[in-house]
Every structure is written in structure tokens, then in C-alpha cells.
């Protein structure tokens, strides 16, 4: 039990985790994943649907057994010490999973009592979040709006003051304002020293994490700070626009100096193979000036990095 005191342990350590599904073990959800999360870090798992994020979360919250590999949460092994982990983690599954027929207050109370604590004891931790739903505390949880459900779920996951918090796609299906508020709350929780692992399919949320891991098809493509990931993007990137966007994309796709073209807001982002390609692109756009073609250099975004990493 003194493991935590022996050395400064990381919040979460994942080593060579492999998880397959199916009778023949032919569906690989997690393919040799390794990473670690520092204590008190806000760590993001960014990846498309089906990347393996939920499987990873379920392994770390002791709901699922990995085929092979090791993982520790707060210094405890997910297989051997699962009982200790269940006492100190908070888990918010991707799907709303509180009792819809119990009221807001009853749900929170229930989760507090089964952790042998009470709302009063840890009120300071959930206060910022809970005050927003407190006016509706007599309402049944099933009758809350999407954003309020998330807030209640987060409150319930926090009420026992966990040292590690797992949030599986907490903002999926939540409106833009609530999403922003939600991330503000996470920042506040980070200040309290809680290690937070959050998964999301939204690239704009990645920027708000301390470090992110880009994950696809059960493999980690890159782990770095959001800035670090962007800095690693070395190829020239341009944004182009014209009156005939689809035509433009198709034409650019054919060019041998272009590595990739994809729609990005009202522009297409064009990734060059090397520096000399930029000159050729400029010539190409000039030739299409009749179609009001516009060219401008842009700084890569997380999304550009992710698309690039996925392609290679």
C-alpha cells in the first residue's frame, strides 16, 4: 500500500496494452499501446470513432481485461489492485448512465454514499459544477437537457474526490456553449491536482489539453503537447479557394507536387511534398485567376497534423 510513497508515480501508465475482440481475436481494438500521464495532467485522447478510446478507458477503469500488457492507475495495477482503483477513480462513460428515474439530488447522494462519503464533505470540489444544476435538483435525471446531464454525470464522477478522472467523450452531443463551459470546469479540476484523462473526437478541444495522444485504429500516432504536435508539422501548408471548389480539389489531387488536399472550412488545405511545390502551386493558382482563385499560407492546426498522420 506504500507504493505511492516510494517514488513519485505517474498518474496513469500504460505499457504495451493489446485488446482484441471476437471469437477468433481478429478484431484488434488496441494494438500495443503505451503512454503515461503525469499526476495532475490534463491528457487528451484524440481520435475518430472506433479508434479504441473507449476500450482503453474501460481497461483503465477495471471494467475490461486486456489481452496482454500492463497498466497502472495512480500506482495501482489494473488487474491485481482493481479494488483500490475502484475507490480512487471517477469514470464518466460516453453514454449518460445515471438513474433516469432518480432526481438529480438522489443520484448524487447515491453515488456519494456508496463511496462512503456525503455531498457536504466534498461539496467544494463539485460546487462550481453543481450550482449550475442545483436549481433542478428535484428533477428526474432523465428529464434533464444534454448539457445538464453531462454536468450531473461529472458531479457524480467527482463526488468521492477521485485522484484520477476518466472522461469518455464528455462533450459529444453537447452544444457549443456547454462544451466551452465543460472545458473551463476541467481546467478548474486540474488546479485541484486531479489527473484527468479525456477522450474526444473534436480537434478544437485537443488544444485545451496539456498533452494529447492521437489515436487511430488502436494505434497511437503521436503523443505530444498540442503545440509540439503542430511544431512537428514541417511541410508547407496552403489554403486555397476558388469559385469551383470541387473542381479545384480534383485538379490539385492530380498534381505530383501536392501531397494532400482536403476541405477545411471555406478553404481547401493543400499540403506540399516539399518547399519547391509552393512555387508550382502559386503558378497553378495564377493560371486559375479567372475563377477567383485565392491562395494564402496558413499555420497548421491539430486537425492538419491528424490528417497528415492518418495518411502516413
Amino acid at each position: 500500500m506504500d507504493k505511492t510513497k516510494e517514488k513519485v508515480v505517474a498518474g496513469v501508465v500504460v505499457e504495451n496494452i493489446i485488446k482484441t475482440y471476437g471469437k477468433k481475436k481478429d478484431m484488434t481494438a488496441l494494438n500495443d499501446i503505451s503512454f503515461d500521464v503525469q499526476k495532475g495532467e490534463l491528457f487528451g485522447l484524440i481520435g475518430p470513432d472506433g479508434a479504441g478510446k473507449t476500450s482503453l478507458f474501460r481497461i483503465l477503469t477495471t471494467l475490461l481485461l486486456a489481452d496482454s500488457g500492463k497498466a497502472t492507475v495512480d500506482g495501482f495495477d489494473v488487474v491485481k489492485d482493481y479494488k483500490a482503483i475502484r475507490k480512487r477513480v471517477g469514470y464518466m462513460p460516453g453514454r449518460f448512465s445515471l438513474y433516469p428515474d432518480l432526481s438529480v439530488e438522489e443520484n448524487l447522494n447515491f453515488f456519494a454514499t456508496i463511496f462512503n462519503t456525503s455531498i457536504e464533505e466534498n461539496y467544494d470540489l463539485v460546487k462550481d459544477i453543481y450550482v449550475q444544476i442545483e436549481p433542478f435538483k428535484k428533477r428526474k435525471a432523465g428529464k434533464l437537457s444534454g448539457g445538464m446531464k453531462q454536468k450531473l454525470a461529472l458531479s457524480c464522477a467527482l463526488i468521492h474526490r477521485p485522484s484520477v478522472l476518466f472522461l469518455d467523450e464528455p462533450t459529444t452531443g453537447v452544444d457549443a456553449v456547454s462544451r466551452k463551459e465543460f472545458w473551463e470546469m476541467l481546467k478548474g479540476l486540474k488546479q485541484q491536482g486531479i489527473t484527468i484523462l479525456v477522450s474526444t473526437p473534436y480537434m478544437d478541444e485537443a488544444r485545451l489539453c496539456d498533452r494529447i495522444a492521437l489515436i487511430q485504429n488502436g494505434k497511437i500516432l503521436s503523443i505530444n503537447s498540442p503545440q509540439g504536435i503542430v511544431n512537428d508539422f514541417s511541410k508547407p501548408l496552403w489554403a486555397v479557394k476558388s469559385d469551383r471548389m470541387l473542381h479545384l480539389q480534383n485538379e490539385l489531387q492530380e498534381k505530383d507536387f501536392v501531397e494532400n488536399v482536403y476541405p477545411f472550412g471555406e478553404f481547401h488545405h493543400v499540403v506540399m511534398k516539399n518547399e519547391s511545390g509552393s512555387e508550382q502551386l502559386r503558378n497553378f493558382i495564377t493560371a486559375h485567376s479567372s475563377e477567383n482563385a485565392v491562395l494564402q499560407q496558413v499555420k497548421p492546426d491539430i486537425e492538419d497534423c491528424f490528417i497528415d498522420l492518418m495518411k502516413n
Partner: protein, 372 residues
């Protein structure tokens, strides 16, 4: 213990908030016990009889009168051709055809013997069988009646006459309700035990709350006990309602003690709750749980000795009934209610039921996992 208390509080809160479950628990036993015993009855009545009377004699009339006055038969057709009566059977207007041949009276008097013909519509096997049997008995009765009539003076060895009198032990009036009500009560208890428990647990799976529970330090047995205790109490509650209806509506007062019934019911509920739990661990959603428990209920009811006697089943079916908890409870209920059996009389059934409880719950606890 503390955790269990909170789990129970949550469970009761949810159940009392769900009006459909409450309605089911309260109304289902009342309705079923008020309706079923009147309708589900082994006696065959209202058998539609078509008579083809080709004799039109005093004797044939007497016979027909005797049959119709028995109360079991309704004379729906009286014709003079067999074809016509067969047509009635084809149109489902008659279940039995009794043909009285011409010269029936004459032959009976002169030759001392006469023939009758019975045609039975065997689509409904039970009705056909019993109907024909009733008819035969009545004709036999009629036969001996006219014979006694002819013998003016009692004398020796004129007619071998064996008269059978019988008395129905434990149910002197052969009141079928005494027989059915305890049985129906058992089915109700089984439904509360298996169905409601299974669906309740599977619901937690369906809405995902079980995941949330699984990442907490709640112990497996806490969670399971939290689920079983409320339905165990509901089961005993339903039993109480049922026994009250049996007494108030049907005047059934168990000859044995209520304690015997409750002791067995408590153990029985433990077994069926375990079965419900087992169903829930193997079902992913409420439909699956419903279908699975429905399937088992069908077998339990049909092979439970409620509607058909277990003793008349083929040997292999008798073996199945030995693994059917319902059959034991029905047996015990009838033993206690009708015969006044005591706890020591039912110790074999108690033992078996204890075995069922350990088996189902043990299996369910082993297969209920907190992780995949």
C-alpha cells in the same frame, strides 16, 4: 451493511416510482385469482350433442331425457339422418353424435340387447374423450335402470350388480377451485420472482448504470442482495394478497398452518429469484430477458402439474418435472391447503428447494462479473 442499506433505499425508491411495476404487483394477482379459477376448470360441460333417433320409441325418449338431464350435454340437434348430424359436426355445431337405431326398443325388449352408435368430434381431444366417457356412463346407468325395472322381484343371481360409491378425500365436494387457486398463486409468485428480477437487473445493463456501479467499490454480493431483497419481499406480499383472496372470495382456508406455507414460499422465492438473476446475467437487454423467462415459464406451467397431472405424463416428462421448481411448490401448496401437511411432511420438498436456491444463486453469482 451500510452500502446495502443505501442500495436498498435506491431500489425501493425506483420501484415505488415505477407505476407499471406497482400496478403489476398489486393488480396482477387480484385479476388472475378472480378470473382464472372460474374459467380454468377440468370439468367438461356444455358438450353439444346431436341425436339421430331412428326409433322414436318410449325407450329412446327416456334415454335422451336421461342424457340431457345430466347437465353435461346440450341437445343441439335432433334429426333422423346420420348424414345430417355429421354435417353438424363439420360445422362445429355438435361434439358428439348418438345414433339410436330403428327397432332399438323392440330389440332391447325381445333380444335383451340393443346397439347404439356414438361418433365423436376428436378435434378437441379432452372434450371428445371425456364427453364420450360421460355418455357411456349415462348409457350404462340407463341400462341397469331398465333392467332393475324389469326385475319385479328381487331374487338371487338375476343380475350381477356392482355398485361403486366413492368419497373424495381432502376435497369432499371435488371443488376445483380448491385445487386451482393454490396452483395459480404459485405461478404468480414465480412470475414476480423470475420476470421482475431479471428485467430489473437487465434494465441497469441497458441504461448503462451497471457500468457506473461496477467502477465503484460496491461488492458483488451487495449489489445482488440489493436486487433480491426487494423482490423477495414483494413475492411474500403477493402471496399474502393471494391467500387473502383465496379466503375471502373462495373461502379456502388452508387445513395446514400459514407458517408452513410462508416458510416454503420464502425458500421458493429464493430459488426463483436466483433463476431471475441467472437469466439477467445471460441477457443483454429487456427483450432477451423477457423471452427467456417467458420460455421457461411456459415449460414450468405446462410441466408443473397445474393443468395436467404429473402422474399421467410419460416417464421422460416426469423427469423434467423433477427439475421444475414450480411443480414442488404446487405440490406443497395442495398438500398444505387441502391435506394440512406440516413442515415435517414437506421436508423433502424443502430440501430440494434449498438445493435449487443454492444452485441458481451460486451459478448466477459466478457468472455475474464486474468486468468483461
Amino acid at each position: 451493511m451500510r452500502t446495502l442499506k443505501f442500495l436498498l433505499r435506491k431500489e425501493f425508491r425506483q420501484i415505488f416510482r415505477d407505476p407499471s411495476i406497482l400496478r403489476l404487483i398489486l393488480i396482477m394477482p387480484v385479476i388472475q385469482l378472480l378470473i382464472l379459477p372460474w374459467a380454468a376448470d377440468y370439468e367438461i360441460k356444455n358438450i353439444k350433442l346431436a341425436v339421430v333417433d331412428l326409433d322414436h320409441s318410449e325407450y329412446s325418449r327416456q334415454l335422451i331425457n336421461k342424457i340431457t338431464s345430466s347437465g353435461y350435454f346440450i341437445l343441439t340437434d335432433y334429426s333422423s339422418s346420420y348424414e345430417q348430424s355429421l354435417g353438424k359436426i363439420e360445422h362445429d355445431k355438435a361434439d358428439l353424435v348418438l345414433q339410436i337405431p330403428g327397432h332399438f326398443e323392440k330389440e332391447l325388449v325381445k333380444e335383451d340387447e340393443a346397439k347404439l352408435f356414438i361418433a365423436v368430434n376428436a378435434i378437441n381431444g379432452v372434450k371428445a374423450n371425456l364427453g364420450a366417457a360421460y355418455l357411456r356412463t349415462i348409457i350404462q346407468d340407463y341400462n341397469s335402470e331398465i333392467r332393475t325395472e324389469w326385475i319385479q322381484f328381487p331374487r338371487f343371481s338375476a343380475e350381477t350388480h356392482i355398485e361403486v360409491t366413492y368419497s373424495n378425500w381432502f376435497n369432499p365436494l371435488m371443488n376445483y377451485k380448491y385445487f386451482m387457486v393454490p396452483g395459480i398463486l404459485v405461478i404468480l409468485l414465480t412470475m414476480v420472482g423470475t420476470n421482475l428480477t431479471a428485467i430489473n437487473i437487465v434494465k441497469e445493463k441497458e441504461i448503462g448504470t451497471i457500468e457506473q456501479i461496477n467502477v465503484t467499490p460496491i461488492k458483488k454480493y451487495h449489489f445482488i442482495l440489493g436486487k433480491l431483497i426487494p423482490f423477495w419481499l414483494f413475492g411474500l406480499f403477493v402471496l399474502t394478497i393471494g391467500l387473502s383472496i383465496a379466503r375471502l372470495v373462495y373461502g379456502i382456508i388452508p387445513s395446514g398452518s400459514f407458517i408452513t406455507i410462508y416458510v416454503f414460499a420464502a425458500l421458493y422465492l429464493l430459488a426463483v429469484l436466483g433463476l431471475g438473476l441467472l437469466i439477467s446475467t445471460y441477457s443483454a437487454n429487456q427483450q432477451q430477458a423477457m423471452l427467456l423467462s417467458f420460455f421457461l415459464m411456459m415449460i414450468f406451467i405446462l410441466l408443473g402439474g397445474l393443468y395436467t397431472s404429473i402422474d399421467s405424463m410419460p416417464e421422460w416428462a416426469k423427469w423434467i418435472t423433477r427439475f421444475n421448481p414450480v411443480s414442488y411448490f404446487i405440490e406443497v401448496m395442495r398438500m398444505v391447503v387441502l391435506k394440512g401437511s406440516t413442515l415435517s411432511d414437506i421436508k423433502y420438498q424443502l430440501l430440494v428447494m434449498g438445493g435449487f436456491a443454492v444452485f441458481f444463486n451460486g451459478w448466477a453469482i459466478i457468472s455475474y462479473r464486474k468486468r468483461g
